[in-house]
């Protein structure tokens, strides 16, 4: 059974149908790229899966749970974490704290435990710290060491994106939704991140759905590519199939002019 199964999903914004009866699934351990021209509904799809928007129709089944109607934090606790297209870190918190927030849903300590400094609470704090550092260590030395206690706004653009992924990893999710993880990166950083997305699956066992515009990244990591246009799925398959699909080319480049005569 698929880890994520989207059936007949629709979402209207006023008169605009952003997602139109979309069916879509992700198997466990798969890396699926969602591509499509601007305004195709890719980010809206992510927002619907993570509960930021409520769908008008359809259902989203993740790991046996229907996500429709759940709050974003409940969905995250079930195991879906995401990054944002426009990097949205907690910029005035330290790098370590950013990732520690990701562990909120996995821990329990309340106000009284904290004030009384119960052993359980102290152990949990230590656990949070350990896990956060572990998530950050996935990116080599970039985000650890003296960086841990610096506010997130000092980071370079690429590091911000990395930190966002680390924060999503810390939630203990099974499924990572990465929204344009390489946007704004230089070619070398892009290459490195492509490799890293592969490692996220191979070493850490995440299932990954990513929205991506850079076709080299899509080609490099995807097991399967889903193409959206006007909220509908217009093609699906491995990269080569999709790349030569007439409808996909049309969506990106426009229709060939038909001679009337």
């Amino acid at each position: 059974m698929a880890l994520l199964e989207v059936r007949g999903l629709s979402k209207d914004f006023g008169g605009l149908r952003a997602i139109d009866h979309l069916d879509f699934h992700v198997e466990e351990g798969e890396i699926v790229s969602v591509i499509g021209p601007n305004g195709a509904g890719k980010t809206t799809l992510f927002n619907l899966i993570t509960g930021l928007f409520q769908p008008d129709e359809g259902e989203i089944i993740f790991d046996g749970h229907n996500l429709v109607g759940l709050r974003p934090d409940q969905i995250t606790r079930l195991g879906v974490a995401r990054t944002f297209q426009t990097v949205r870190l907690f910029f005035n918190m330290t790098i370590l704290e950013n990732v520690m927030v990701g562990l909120h849903g996995r821990t329990r300590s309340g106000i009284l435990d904290t004030i009384l400094s119960l052993p359980r609470q102290r152990e949990e704090e230590e656990f949070i710290r350990q896990q956060a550092i572990e998530a950050l260590s996935f990116f080599g030395k970039r985000l650890v060491g003296f960086r841990l206690n610096q506010p997130a706004f000092v980071l370079s653009y690429a590091n911000r994106r990395r930190l966002e992924i680390a924060r999503a990893m810390a939630t203990g999710a099974k499924l990572l939704l990465l929204d344009e993880p390489t946007a704004g990166m230089n070619p070398r950083e892009t290459l490195e991140l492509t490799e890293l997305i592969g490692r996220l699956r191979d070493e850490k066992g995440y299932t990954i759905v990513l929205i991506e515009h850079d076709m080299r990244v899509v080609k490099g990591v995807s097991d399967r590519v889903v193409v959206l246009d006007y909220g509908r799925k217009i093609a699906e398959g491995d990269y080569e199939e999709v790349a030569h699909n007439e409808r996909v080319l049309e969506a990106y480049l426009g229709r060939k002019a038909v001679r009337s005569a």
Binding site: L52, P72, G105, G110, I115, F146, Q150
Partner: protein
């Protein structure tokens, strides 16, 4: 610990292209001079100068009124004479006569505007509208010399303007020491009550007549001593603090612990003897400061940590006070269980938590301005309910509840303000501990995350509803401690003690102190609650001062008086590091220096 790259002494310069940073702008000086003139007229016309003239800072030489008046050109001239910030890669202009000239312009314009004001005010009777422009004020402004006194007024403005400009020429350490000494001299001059009492309490009462003239204000000798001592303090002690901190950071953990322990013991001893030495009057003020501090710490959790702007915070203070009153007072109208303070405390906490939920629940989905308005309403509702005839049988209406017993632990009764100081400090410590503990915990991080970006916090698994309610509950409970102490200290509660003004004062003091920072709240409370209590002349202008202070803080120092030092440093370090060009230049310089010394290879770069 990351090594901090030394900042180059001068900005690097590309080859021969020397980019000069703009010099002090005389046009700006003229603008600031105009502003200074208007401010000086304003403080004269609203009566501050005259009201403050009755208190001397230096006996027979300088009154607080003149100080206020002349501080305006002094500070403005100082600001006008400051160079605009030097951008990276530009060469800072040499300091020189131009700085002083800018100061003089400010002084001259202030003097001119003041002179015009005096001339107009003496020709036209404006007292119908501006009741404070009295003949006495004009006499003050002309130094009792008739219109000839205007020379002194303008001369004084020119002189202070020039001094302000000259201050800019002084090298950093001198400048800081001079300003520090000036500020302390003014403060010690004003706070005769405290200092004289301090001498008496320490058994040094014979010193008082040497310092204070007895008619208010310092003696010339006292002034000199205070000025020199403060100067020396800023000159030799303050620059070393940084070094001590660094030395402390390098100490082995065991030494660190012993240093910490001895500092704690010293602080505890100081707090223990403080009220004894300071006597009942100052202790009374300190008690009030403590109660406001308690509320400040509580509101800091709601506003500073969680970012929920609560303008009705006084409601929780009232809940604490009234719950205590009803449960402990024999005069409680409806029901008087006559519990002890400590037996009532758990119920106070419960009542406050409940109040937190009642206020919190309806505003869960609101943000920013909407939240502020709704909580403002709640604060007023609380006060009006206490005042209402409807609930008079329970809360006693406008008559309030009297005969609240004084606080006691076993045989120890906290009767006087001096006694009350200890439990208040105790509660403050508890509140500070709670704040600190929560800040560095899962819950504190969730609050901060919510403050930064509610939607993302939610997407990271933070239950916004739960965490918001928790912030309201903790804030409410801490405020209720303040209310409970207030009730038992005063011995009675009345609805009028819980006005909007209390909410605003608490909010202002945490903003001024530094949102989210616990020592900042302490400083803010001392400055905004303690000082006005000690300077009675000030009371009338309290709100004016709050307003001015808030505007200035928002414009020039939105992070508050005491932001976290570590952050500021890291911020600056990072600015430099991120400027790749400067970094390259710096690396080259370092490599050259090393090549010249012929030792160690360059340190490998941190990724």
């Amino acid at each position: 610990m990351a090594e901090i790259a030394p900042v180059p002494e001068k900005a690097p310069v590309i080859e021969d292209v020397r980019l000069k940073a703009p010099e002090v702008s005389l046009e700006r000086a003229a603008k600031l001079g105009g502003v200074a003139g208007i401010v000086a007229v304003f403080v004269s016309a609203n009566g501050m100068v005259q009201a403050f003239a009755e208190r001397d800072i230096i006996s027979g030489v300088l009154s607080m009124g003149y100080t206020l008046l002349f501080l305006v050109p002094l500070i403005m001239a100082y600001l006008a004479a400051r160079e605009p910030p030097v951008l990276e890669g530009f060469e800072a202009p040499e300091k020189g006569p131009r700085n002083v000239l800018a100061g003089l312009i400010v002084g001259a314009l202030t003097g001119l505007i003041m002179a015009i004001f005096v001339l107009v005010a003496s020709a036209v009777d404006m007292r119908r509208v501006f009741i404070n422009i009295s003949p006495q004020l004009l006499e003050l402004l002309t130094f009792g010399q008739g219109m000839g006194g205007l020379v002194f007024l303008v001369g004084g403005c020119l002189l202070t303007g020039a001094v302000g400009g000259l201050m800019q020429l002084a090298e950093g350490r001198w400048r800081r020491a001079l300003w520090g000494a000036l500020a302390w001299t003014l403060l010690i001059g004003l706070l005769e009550v405290i200092v004289a009492q301090l001498f008496r309490g320490l058994g040094l009462g014979f010193l008082s007549p040497l310092f204070y003239a007895g008619t208010g204000g310092l003696t010339p000798l006292g002034t000199a001593v205070v000025f020199v001592l403060a100067f020396l303090y800023y000159w030799s002690v303050v620059p070393k603090v940084d070094m001590w901190q660094r030395r402390y950071a390098h100490m082995p953990a065991e030494r660190q612990r012993s240093v910490r322990l001895s500092l704690t013991v010293a602080a505890v001893l100081l707090v223990a003897i403080l009220p004894q030495v300071l006597g009942p009057f100052v202790s009374e003020v300190l008690d009030l400061v403590g109660i406001f501090l308690l509320m400040g710490l509580g509101l800091n959790i709601v506003v500073g940590f969680a970012g929920l702007l609560d303008l009705g915070y006084v409601a929780f203070f009232a809940v604490g006070a009234y719950t205590t009153a009803i449960l402990t007072s024999p005069a409680s109208p409806r029901w008087s269980p006559e519990m002890s303070f400590w037996a009532a405390l758990p119920f106070v906490i419960l009542a406050a938590a409940l109040a937190g939920i009642i206020v919190g629940t309806p505003v869960l989905r609101m943000r920013g301005d909407y939240l502020a308005i709704v909580t403002l309403g709640f604060g007023e509702i609380a006060r009006l309910l206490l005042l209402s005839d409807w609930l008079r049988p329970v809360f006693g209406g406008a008559q309030g509840i009297l005969k609240i017993p004084t606080l006691s632990i076993g045989p120890i009764v906290f009767r006087t303000p001096v006694d009350m100081f200890y439990p208040i400090v105790g509660f403050c410590l508890v509140a500070a501990y709670i704040s600190w503990k929560l800040k560095n915990s899962r819950i504190g991080r969730a609050w901060m995350a919510m403050r930064e970006d509610e939607q993302v916090a939610e997407a990271m698994g933070v239950d916004i509803v739960e965490i918001k309610l928790k912030a309201f509950i903790v804030g409410a409970v801490i405020a209720s401690f303040g209310g409970a102490l207030f009730a038992t200290k005063i011995g009675s509660v009345f609805p009028h003690s819980f006005s909007l003004l209390v909410s605003i004062t608490v909010l202002v003091l945490i903003i001024v102190g530094g949102l989210g920072n616990i020592p900042g709240v302490v400083v803010g409370t001392l400055a905004l609650v303690g000082l006005p209590e000690l300077l009675r002349e000030f009371q009338e202008y309290r709100l004016l001062a709050y307003g001015v202070l808030l505007i200035l803080m928002m414009l020039y120092r939105p992070e508050g008086l005491l932001p976290s030092k570590q952050w500021v440093r890291e911020l600056h370090e990072e600015e430099l590091m991120q400027d790749a060009w400067l970094k390259m230049e710096e690396d080259r310089r370092r490599a050259q220096a090393q090549a010249a010394q012929g030792d160690l290879p360059a340190r490998p770069e941190e990724a």
